[in-house]
């Protein structure tokens, strides 16, 4: 990482949390640590313990939502919440590309997602074309609008770009999503699911499949030259440019990737809800994505996914009912379940920014390293603040 003369140790947005093991980038940046653990091999019991935890995780992700071997009863509504959690994880990863990798904040992500949703619904309902084509088109449109906004941002510094995205979000919400031909007006636009994936359980696995695809693309992005270029230009665009990195080009690449992910998420949301209305893509959704990414831990894939799932479950009230906290929130605090995420989320955000800059990704780093076959290191993922000076913002 590059450091200039007025460096400061900076939490949150600039903190390198990818060190949470496993990542290609982390391995590049921490050769000493990798060397330290190279000779360690878990014993037979150690492998067994890790295998049990892996099996449990696989059960939670694959089998629990579909009621297999489950002591609990999971209803139809709950499987929809699980699908939504997977979709939100895609949205969180989309924002992570911009905010985490490039340091560009977007307050208009609801528009990115919403456009994908309406394009997808339009293609399936009005043009009677297949769902797969609709997802592809949503991804293309998402990427296109993001590149257009990104082209504007090249002329602006970081903070002004935040204003442009804020204005774009409002514009899309009121003007674009107000076009009746595209969005179906007040009654909403139907977006039927493909026949094979019509049931909630099958749709869940479809969303999971797309999440895996997005995770793989994201991993390839950070592992490639583009990912390293983005890390360099985030820390200091001028130094990056002096090393021959095409700063503008790579910012546009980041926007395109973020827009494509957002378009996919939008398309999945549309066919998840089956009828979509413009008002569901409001400013609160954009703020929710920011909560997911920052609390999850910027630049930390696993953290962002966990953060997104956490907020999706909290938003839908599933987490409250799962842990039987309804009585505590509604009775003791007088806080209705649908507002829990609005109250808890921002508090977590501020705590993350000021105390735990690595977010959830930092907190699960020890467990993650252990699962990957290393020793349990309680300090993994902490104390690796990168020195940066943000000259751009």
């Amino acid at each position: 990482m590059t450091a200039t003369d007025d460096t400061t140790v900076i939490p949150a947005v600039e903190t390198e949390t990818a060190a949470a093991a496993g990542d290609q980038t982390a391995a590049d940046e921490r050769p000493a640590e990798v060397g330290l653990h190279r000779d360690f091999r878990p014993s037979g019991a150690g492998w067994l313990a890790r295998g049990i935890v892996w099996a449990f995780l696989a059960w939670v992700v694959l089998a629990f939502p579909v009621n297999a071997f489950s002591p609990f009863h999971v209803g139809v509504a709950d499987i929809d919440v699980a699908s939504l959690a997977a979709i939100y994880a895609i949205g969180g990863l989309s924002l992570n590309v911009l905010l985490g990798y490039c340091g560009q904040i977007s307050f208009g992500h609801q528009a990115f997602v919403g456009l994908g949703a309406f394009v997808s619904a339009y293609i399936v309902t009005d043009l009677q074309l297949s769902f797969w084509l609709a997802v592809g088109a949503a991804a293309v449109f998402g990427g296109l609008q993001a590149v257009l906004l990104g082209a504007v941002s090249l002329r602006l510094t970081g903070l002004y770009f935040a204003l442009v995205t804020l204005a774009y979000g409002t514009f899309a919400q009121e003007t674009l999503f107000g076009i009746t031909a595209l969005t179906g007006g007040e009654g909403g636009k139907p977006a039927p699911r493909p026949e094979f994936f019509a049931s909630g359980y099958r749709y869940y696995f479809l969303c999971l499949g797309f999440l895996v695809l997005v995770l793989w693309l994201d991993w390839r992005l950070t592992a490639s030259k583009a990912g390293r270029a983005m890390a360099a230009l985030r820390e200091n665009p001028r130094v990056a440019a002096s090393y021959g990195i095409n700063v503008r080009g790579y910012i546009l690449v980041a926007f395109a990737v973020s827009g494509i992910f957002a378009g996919i998420a939008g398309s999945l949301i549309a066919h998840h809800d089956e009828v979509i209305v413009g008002s569901s893509f409001d400013f609160r959704l954009a703020l929710l994505f920011i909560l997911m990414t920052v609390v999850g831990g910027l630049r930390n894939r696993v953290g962002v996914v966990i953060g997104s799932v956490f907020f999706a479950l909290l938003e839908e009230g599933a987490l409250v009912s799962m842990f039987r906290l309804g009585g505590f929130f509604e009775g003791t605090l007088g806080l209705p379940t649908e507002f829990v995420s609005l109250v808890v989320g921002p508090i977590l955000l501020v705590l993350t920014l000021t105390l735990y800059p690595g977010g959830i990704g930092q907190q699960v780093a020890p467990l993650r390293g252990w699962l990957a076959g290393r020793k349990f290191d309680p300090h993994a993922g902490s104390g690796h603040d990168v020195e940066v000076s943000d000259v751009r913002a």
């Binding site: 400061t8 140790v9 900076i10 939490p11 949150a12 947005v13 600039e14 905010l99 340091g103 904040i105 307050f107 504007v152 002329r155 602006l156 970081g158 903070l159 002004y160 935040a162 204003l163 442009v164 804020l166 204005a167 774009y168 409002t170 514009f171 919400q173 009121e174 003007t175 107000g178 076009i179 409001d282 400013f283 609160r284 703020l287 920011i290 909560l291 920052v294 605090l333 007088g334 806080l335 209705p336 507002f339 609005l342 109250v343 808890v344 989320g345 921002p346 508090i347 955000l349 501020v350 920014l353 000021t354 940066v388 943000d390 913002a393």
Partner: protein, 304 residues
Amino acid sequence: MTGPSLLDELGIALVTGILQGSVYALVALGIVLVYRASGAFNFAQTEFGTTGLFAAYAALVMWGWSYPAAIAFGLVVAIGMGLLTERLVVHPLRNASRVTVLVGTAGVALAAVGFQFWRFNETLIMTMPRIKDAFFVVPVVDAPVTVQQLITLGVLAVASVALALFFRSPSGLAIQAAQQEPTAAELVGISVRRVSMLTWAIAALLGGLAGILSGPYTTFTAGFLTFGAGRALLPGFMAAVLAGMRSMPGAVAGGLTVGVVEQLGTLSMMIEIPGARAMLLFGFLLVVLLVRPQGIFTGRTVTA
């Protein structure tokens, strides 16, 4: 009746725009003040207003206080929130990048919205009586104007003059010194910490005024000034951009300009376009940022 002519409509848009713009100008003044002090874009500025408004509403409607007492209570709550923001978020993040501080203030705004939903979830849509519930018609252009809107414009004028005077007083000079050269200011005995608190308190006061005065225009919900019916966050920021993020008179001029530009969206030729006001604001912001990112109403106080 063939409907009003374009010229009549423009006249109404001008008057309504200036009156609506005075709310934006109050917000923009707070934004500029904080930007000069902390170099941060304060996304919580309008939530100071909504929180103050909710406090005033609680005092006036739920507890039956008198109107002046309710306003005073609302302003005190807004200032308290501003000081808390400085203590809990801005100060701990003083060495962080500006984007981090931006996310932090957005978090404060969202926390405030959540708190409003929580405490006021029995009545989701609220109304508050006006200070004086009357209106009259401006003679030449036939624009209806409520007394409440005129009061807002008057408060803006008073606040602008008071700020101008304040920045010539010792405390105001200390603020300016600390903003321009913090280290040197410390050396001559100015507590930069206290100056920062003072700045945030004034900004929160301005935000509180904007909220308490504009709330009675219409019905309001949680997040009223940020993304609700009285959305003033984006227009306020645009006004601050027009002022080059630094000039206080520029913020006032910018606020009034943005108000008028936004009202052009209500002309009858725009009636076919959904969300014409949002579209105009977006286009206007793009043009300003691409053509003159250094601002228009920058005045002579601008320092690069």
